[in-house]
């Protein structure tokens, strides 16, 4: 298992949306362990407060619905108020949706697009504005990084899910677009495209051997990802070690997208 890189994010101020549990919380744990101060945004207030209690004094929680501009702006404002700067934002908040094409309702489409796409736009805009302000305040600022969370579903689809993959495809392109627009502001923008990860969101899959098998035979490494493995990638991309990487989606998929057929049983 990966080891923390001590001091990698020392002194940085980082916002994580959807940070109350799952992979979002794993990002926060890793970044705090590597020296960052984090502000978690999430609609799950109870989970959020429990996460902050576990993370200690380096963490704060702000109730935040990423579909509402005022709440996203308030989240970034809290990071600026508490830490005087914003260095990294991880736009992780998102929902899954299991609705096949013919059954997808207008309401479901709008709900998923609002959270997964508009939410990433609003988060990215507010984070970038806070980073531009940070650059004005700090003459030796090393630059910022925005990490959007996409999915392998940004480029592949499965039966029974329409809005989710489309929303993640949009995150993939939004990442490229943000990278181009923010390069001159010393802000890199990248995305992570995880494969199935062992989180609460995937609890139903983990409990069902048949569902699990479908995922494992289409994964070269023959297992689902641990949240910590995805967090390790976010930590790298958010750090200066990825200083020449921008506009890219890095697929953390255990060898899924490259596999034509199936792994042997």
């Amino acid at each position: 298992m990966s080891a923390f890189v001590p001091g990698r994010h020392a002194g940085k101020s980082i916002v994580v949306t959807g940070g109350a549990r799952g992979i979002g919380l794993a990002y926060a744990q890793r970044l705090v362990a590597e020296g960052a101060r984090v502000v978690l945004g999430d609609i799950r207030e109870e989970d959020g407060r429990a996460a902050v209690a576990a993370l200690g004094s380096a963490a704060r929680f702000v109730s935040c619905d990423v579909t509402k501009k005022a709440e996203v702006d308030a989240l970034m404002a809290e990071a600026m108020r508490a830490h005087g700067r914003l260095d990294v934002c991880i736009a992780n908040a998102g929902v899954v949706s299991h609705s096949p094409f013919l059954e997808t309702t207008e309401e479901e489409w709008d709900r998923v697009m609002a959270i997964n796409v508009k939410g990433v736009l609003l988060t990215g805009q507010a984070a970038a504005r806070a980073m531009i302000e940070t650059r004005k305040r700090l003459s030796d600022w090393k630059g910022g990084a925005i990490v959007n969370i996409a999915s392998v579903n940004a480029v592949v689809v499965q039966h029974g899910a329409v809005p989710y993959p489309v929303s993640k495809g949009a995150v993939h392109l939004l990442t490229r677009s943000m990278a181009i627009h923010l390069a001159d502001h010393k802000i890199r923008v990248v995305a992570i495209g995880p494969g199935p990860t062992k989180t609460a969101m995937e609890a139903a899959v983990l409990a069902d051997p048949a569902k699990r098998r479908i995922r494992e035979i289409r994964t070269a490494l023959r297992r689902m990802a641990e949240p910590e493995e995805v967090a390790a990638v976010a930590s790298f991309l958010a750090s200066e070690e990825a200083s020449y990487i921008t506009g890219q989606t890095l697929f953390v998929d255990g060898g899924r997208l490259v596999l034509n057929y199936m792994m042997p049983e």
Binding site: A3, T175, A220, R222, T246, L257, V258, L259
Partner: protein
């Protein structure tokens, strides 16, 4: 020290990106074997990393020659006891219009870039499989694996081949706990690029296609290699990461700021 007690082999390590990888790996605690055909500067490159010769050694290696490649891997084992990480970085380029490329020129580039990466990866993976320990193989691709420049026919073809070779290797070696990934740099400030960038029109073209507005440094590519060499990338295999300053994302061009 993220590579404490690890042993790494880097081909094309006498200078440029290969040297930066070997140097960074050594700084992170690894013992490194540097392979290269450049016997004039190779030994000094190894010495620059470790003057004592205890943690870094140079081996003359033409990656297109299976005997040389085997000797390189064998050196890691005889000198440092094992092999954990292999960076197949050696590569060459020849600039010529497509219509004028001779078979010999084509074959020369394919031999080093593509066949050399295959031979290096196979020899490294055989050693790792024999040990039964986890391994990481990192192939040096290019953003020219997925885009193209009309005057470097064999180079572009070889790098496209390296991306696919990386995928095959990742699938073949997954069960042995060997991860295989590639790095596809954009315009990096190496001797190879500096030669062509002397031409202001080339430099302007490169910067117009680079949103970050600057060349990458070899160390910035080495840091990606370090990430791929460590357990931080434990769920990544078969991928190519592009440290390209944003090039692949860019449809048209960006304004070139410094035209000097």
């Amino acid at each position: 020290m993220r590579l404490k007690d690890k042993v790494a082999v880097v081909t094309g390590a006498a200078r440029g990106i290969g040297f930066a990888c070997a140097k960074l790996f050594a700084e992170e605690g690894a013992k490194v074997v540097l392979g290269d055909v450049m016997t004039d500067i190779g030994p000094a490159s190894a010495k620059a990393i470790d003057p004592s010769g205890q943690r870094a050694v140079f081996v003359k290696c033409d990656v297109g020659d299976p005997k040389d490649v085997q000797a390189l891997i064998d050196t890691a084992v005889s000198k440092f006891g094992k092999l954990d990480i292999c960076v197949a970085n050696a590569g060459i380029n020849r600039v010529k219009d497509f219509l004028d490329v001779t078979l010999d020129e084509w074959s020369e580039v394919i031999r080093v870039n593509l066949t050399g990466t295959f031979l290096t990866g196979q020899a490294a993976a055989r050693q790792m499989a024999k040990q039964g320990t986890p391994g990481a193989i990192i192939n040096m691709s290019s953003c020219n694996a997925v885009m193209a420049i009309p005057t470097i026919t064999a180079y572009v073809a070889s790098k496209g081949g390296i991306n696919q070779l990386t995928r095959v290797m990742a699938l073949s070696l997954a069960a042995k706990n060997i991860r295989v990934n590639a790095i596809g740099p954009g315009s990096i400030s190496t001797d190879m690029v500096k030669v062509v960038a002397k031409d202001p029109s080339v430099r302007r073209a490169q910067m117009a296609r680079t949103p970050l507005g600057r060349y990458g440094e070899p160390e910035e590519v080495a840091r990606v290699a370090l990430f791929l060499a460590t357990e931080d990338s434990s769920y990544i295999t078969g991928q190519t990461i592009y440290p390209d300053g944003g090039r692949l994302a860019l449809n048209y061009t960006v304004p070139v700021k410094d035209d000097a």
